[in-house]
Symmetry: C2
Subunit: 179 residues, 2 copies
């Protein structure tokens, strides 16, 4: 089984903490990600304190299961090289092209972490059921950034079955759309 | 060396074609990607004909090096479950929240392909120097989709050195932004 098949979204974790050594291995995997013009817009805030975790969970649609994860990684897109106006506030409905590009690049780096975690025997889950405004307030993130996800990280205490997925014929076409 | 370190953006390829068997292995890796509400918004158009490749390259900022790749994967975000109005046209500057979410999810699936390709000894390169309008016209893609990338795929004919990257201290914080 390769790491792509091994990866599952894990929503129940053991008490085992995620050490700084493991955390660094995860961030190293993120560092190797490709990005447009090599801007590397990804930033990560490692959160372990119960107090901060509670506030984040409350803002993230009260997903109580998240509390069992010993580590949260708040994943933020920065580096708006062509958007140098700090008075700009980014949110879910802002129209900037640059915002879409750094969301793309940061998502790629986050998935490097997710797959590296699977390789190391850890579990993760992407979450994103929050507003930009509220999550930025809690983490004191400047308003011109975009919070792409809160990733839960820990050692799995469950083994979820593989989900049903779209057949290859539904997602692969040849030469043109619909063919 | 793990697949994260092994991955490089490759811009020069050998003549060796990418078989359908390999293509299917790449798409299988994409299929396993996580997505919000399990929407699986990713779609891929495999392009091998010289005529279509030429038109795509012209629209993609005339990056001539792309022509050496035997396979292009045009990677498209679909599945706007909460945007059911087919009259909507998505482009670089549209403001929809849903568009940002499927760009995120499709980027994740694309990177599964990129990393799987590295595992199999293939090279890839993300490209995105095109307009939505022009790329959709060439591929006959409906206007309510979003083209996230054109990925070049083939066997490497170069071994680029690792790029300099931001230090871990520049991208990792603790508990709050800036700490």
């Amino acid at each position: 089984m390769d790491i792509f098949e091994k990866r599952r979204s894990i929503r129940k974790y053991t008490d085992q903490p995620v050490t700084d050594e493991i955390l660094h291995q995860l961030i190293e995997a993120a560092r190797t990600a490709p990005s447009g013009h090599h801007t590397q817009p990804w930033r990560f805030i490692a959160v372990r304190s119960e107090e901060m975790k509670k506030r984040i969970v409350q803002a993230d649609h009260n997903q109580e299961w998240m509390m069992s994860a010993p580590l949260f990684l708040v994943c933020v897109a920065d580096g708006y090289v062509r958007l140098k106006d700090e008075t700009i506030e980014l949110n879910e409905e802002t129209p900037y092209k640059e915002q879409k590009l750094v969301i793309r690049d940061t998502a790629v780096a986050i998935e490097h972490i997710v797959l590296k975690a699977a390789e190391l025997g850890l579990g993760t889950c992407w979450t994103g059921y929050f507003t930009q405004k509220e999550m930025k307030e809690i983490l004191e993130i400047p308003k011109d950034k975009h919070v792409v996800a809160v990733l839960t990280v820990g050692y799995p205490a469950e083994e979820p079955k593989p989900k049903e997925r779209k057949a290859i014929e539904e997602i692969l076409m040849y030469e043109r759309w619909g063919k």
